[in-house]
């Protein structure tokens, strides 16, 4: 017998992974949570049928969503992570000794609990004393914060389901308010390859641009995400991600990474035309 997990990347494009064992299948208050074990990609987290991470390539996503902003402002001390209950982003942040305080806001307690049990490779730093976990709606949490954070990382699911509030204008405006005057906002920014993601990506970018003087997009490739080409947003009140890159400081931290390095940092902001055209409204 063969067991395969299939994710629909669009209505007519599918991506399948051969599964060894189905470890968890649970309907939480907010979503369906599945954890699978596969031959090729290791353990896999799936929410509402959408693949969130695999053990094999999660490092690309988590390094790129954290090391890029950290390399721009060595003074980052207080960080807010919204979503990201798997702990991957927090794991990377905890590697920086300069960070003093991390608030992790995850709406679904069960995601954190199950990841602690089944995905220790991402959840391994959730017990770091600097990490404070809040099981709350991200939109609600950030609404109450003012001038409090150096960095906000939006590690959200897609713009439908429990994560949809994290792609709205009111959310980005509240993030702007919650950041101090050197604050940086980094967000999971979908992709432009398939039309339904492209529209969400474009709207989110326009909304962020309306609040932040600096708002750029950077890309990476994540083999298990739809199209493999994936984007992040970098928005800031002061720092330019490339002009203000502090490679010397990052190298001085002595962090061993599997994907990110100082060359990738400047290169990832060089966007191919298929992304530039969507951002410029040419398609």
């Amino acid at each position: 017998m063969e067991l395969w997990f299939t994710e629909n990347h669009t209505d007519s494009v599918r991506f399948s992974i051969k599964i060894k064992r189905h470890l968890v299948s649970e309907q939480s208050e907010f979503q369906k949570i599945d954890i699978l074990d596969s031959e090729e990609l290791g353990r896999i987290l799936v929410l509402d049928g959408f693949l969130m991470l695999t053990e094999k390539d999660e490092y690309i996503y988590h390094e790129m969503i954290t090391h890029v902003p950290m390399s721009v402002n060595p003074e980052i001390k207080r960080v807010l992570v919204i979503g990201g209950g798997d702990g991957g982003a927090v794991r990377e942040l905890c590697r920086f000794k300069s960070i003093e305080h991390i608030d992790l806001v995850e709406i679904d307690r069960r995601v954190v609990e199950l990841c602690r049990e089944y995905l220790p490779f991402t959840a391994c730093s959730l017990d770091d004393p600097r990490v404070h976990i809040h099981y709350e709606d991200g939109l609600k949490f950030v609404r109450r914060a003012e001038n409090e954070y150096d960095l906000i990382i939006v590690d959200s699911t897609d713009p439908f389901g429990p994560g949809e509030g994290l792609f709205t204008k009111e959310f980005y405006g509240n993030c702007y308010k919650a950041l101090n005057d050197t604050g940086i906002l980094v967000n999971q920014h979908e992709s432009t390859f398939y039309d339904e993601y492209a529209q969400a990506m474009k709207r989110a970018h326009e909304r962020i641009k309306s609040f932040f003087p600096i708002a750029l997009v950077y890309q990476t490739h994540i083999p298990t995400y739809p199209s493999g080409q994936w984007l992040f947003g970098f928005a800031s009140k002061k720092f330019h991600p490339v002009k203000d890159q502090n490679a010397e400081w990052w190298l001085s931290q002595g962090l061993k990474t599997k994907y990110y390095n100082q060359y990738v940092h400047s290169g990832c902001f060089a966007l191919p035309n298929n992304v530039r055209d969507v951002l410029a409204g040419r398609v």
């Binding site: 208050e29 907010f30 709406i107 099981y135 709350e136 709606d137 939109l139 609600k140 609404r143 429990p162 949809e164 509030g165 709205t168 204008k169 009111e170 959310f171 405006g173 509240n174 308010k177």
Partner: protein, 506 residues
């Protein structure tokens, strides 16, 4: 998370028990849905259609079928023996109406396919003939005054109380109702808003007691009060308070399709006469989509209404607390109850006063839609109203609160210079019918002060007339209209679509 979309199994078990309790007063089996069952059977029989509607189950209009879905088009059928006839119900519609009467605690009920507007007009036209008097608060919906234009009844207005700070009309004082009755002993009925659009209730039981003591009937406009019949801890509903008739707009907060409503009657009213009155103006091709939605909404409310409205109140109270915590906004609630003209408050309503933040309600209403993709029910000069039900999601409530917080941060300003007068009690010089059908002239609106108005002027929503036919136009009222126009309120009523001219009595 304070709010929960799903209850855990223990809580669900409790609420199921409560549901059984809530139907304890019902005599009939509320699990039944006779019209729905008959329509399903009709579909199963695969009847060949040589009757109207001409789209023939959707095959004749592919685009419409694609848009609304095959099931909607297949169920868009016409009266026939197995499906009964709303004009003369003898079988499944009659049974569905009996179940509705039972669920609402009424002696009889009639399904309406022209909204609560149709039901309000049916109430008035059933108890008043030309020249008869009816006592009503001036802040009624236009449908009530429309009925007076049609049937020629004479309004005796009881001026509602006004909350000056919020600029909104309130309920009626029982002693003022009694005074109006004593001064007009020939009046036939009292009409009461239960509640107003803003969620404010008069002392309905007291008004019923006074009216009945003087031999008058009591009619309740419950366009915004369907949930009073099924929720707990809400203001008293018309039938429970002893009213004789009530118009329940089930589509607004009860879950049926837009335009459907139920007219409720106590045993003091002859339902067959009321049906005759309704048949004077109601379509003979009543939509089965609307009627079956009433049958299923009634079933759902009878079985699960208590739970649904408990969730509604939980959402609304949460939103009120969060909005008040932002500062600048005032989401008002039961704390304003004064035992008088603000006798009770409908806690499912989320009414928010915005003027202290320097923005007119209509401006906040427009910003929410244009900038944040959030559509609320209405905005007037000083307030906004969001309709909350158990059909909402916690994350959507968070979006509304967060967007209001952003609007304050980005657009808030000093309230200086904002118009601070909302509701103006008008002077009535002529009965509505006489003024509407009088010889009229069209004048530029600014030259009409002092004249008697021949038509309606209102902001829609909420649809409460600023001017009704027969009322004296004043400078204050014209200023109010100009201000509402400038702020972007949608003004309706006059013949002149741009509201630059008004028809006045010659």
């Amino acid at each position: 998370m304070v709010l929960k979309d799903n209850k855990d199994s223990d809580e669900l078990g409790d609420s199921l028990n409560n549901c059984q309790l809530s139907t304890v007063n019902c005599q009939l089996n509320q699990d039944r849905a006779p019209l729905y069952e008959a329509m399903r059977e009709y579909q199963n029989n695969r009847v060949v259609k040589f009757d109207v509607p001409g789209h023939k189950g959707g095959r004749g209009n592919k685009t419409l079928t694609g848009f609304l879905g095959e099931s909607a088009l297949k169920n868009d059928v016409n009266s026939m023996k197995p499906l009964d006839n709303l004009c003369h119900p003898v079988s499944v519609i009659k049974e569905a109406q009996e179940l509705a009467a039972d669920a609402f605690g009424a002696a009889n009920s009639l399904f309406m396919v022209n909204g609560a507007t149709g039901a309000v007009q049916a109430m008035i036209m059933s108890v008043c003939k030309a020249g008869d008097k009816i006592i009503l608060p001036r802040n009624v919906h236009r449908s009530a005054i429309n009925a007076l234009v049609v049937c020629g009844a004479i309004p005796v207005y009881v001026n509602p109380g006004v909350n000056g700070e919020l600029g909104i009309p309130l309920g009626m004082m029982p002693e003022e109702v009694e005074l109006a009755i004593v001064q007009n002993p020939d009046a036939k009925a009292v009409l009461v808003n239960n509640p107003t659009y803003y969620g404010i209730c008069s002392d309905l039981q007291k008004i019923v007691e006074i009216a009945h003591r003087h031999g008058l009937l009591v009619l309740c406009d419950e366009a915004h009060g369907t949930h009073f019949y099924f929720g707990e801890g809400l203001p008293i509903n018309g039938m429970a308070a002893g009213a004789d008739m009530a118009a329940a707009s089930v589509h607004k907060t009860g879950g049926s399709l837009t335009q459907s409503a139920i007219l409720l009657m106590a045993d003091t009213v002859n339902p067959d006469y009321v049906r005759q009155v309704i048949n004077l103006t109601q379509t003979t091709s009543a939509s089965y989509l609307l009627m079956v939605s009433l049958d299923l909404a009634r079933q759902n409310l009878a079985l699960h209404g208590k739970e649904f409205y408990a969730k509604t109140v939980e959402f609304a109270e949460y939103a009120r607390r969060e909005i008040n915590a932002i500062g600048g906004y005032y989401a008002f609630g039961s704390e304003l109850c004064n035992g008088r003209d603000f006798y009770a408050f409908d806690t499912t309503k989320l009414s928010v006063h915005t003027r202290a933040m320097g923005l007119a309600g209509i401006e906040v209403y427009d910003l929410l839609r244009d900038e944040y993709d959030i559509q609320i029910e209405f905005g007037d000069i000083g307030n906004i109203l969001a309709i909350i039900t158990g059909g909402d999601r916690a994350l959507d409530i968070e979006r509304l609160v967060s967007a209001l917080s952003e609007i304050k941060r980005l657009y808030g300003r000093s309230p200086v210079g904002l118009f601070d007068h909302e509701y103006i009690n008008p002077t009535v010089d002529m009965p509505p019918q006489a003024a509407f059908y009088a010889k009229r002239v069209s004048l530029p609106i600014n030259e009409t002060a002092g004249r008697v108005c021949g038509e309606f002027v209102m902001c829609y929503p909420p649809g409460i007339p600023i001017l009704a036919p027969g009322e004296r136009i004043t400078r204050d009222i014209l200023d109010y209209i100009a201000y509402a126009k400038e702020k972007g309120c949608s003004l309706t009523g006059p013949q002149d679509m741009n509201v630059e001219y008004l028809e006045v009595v010659e």
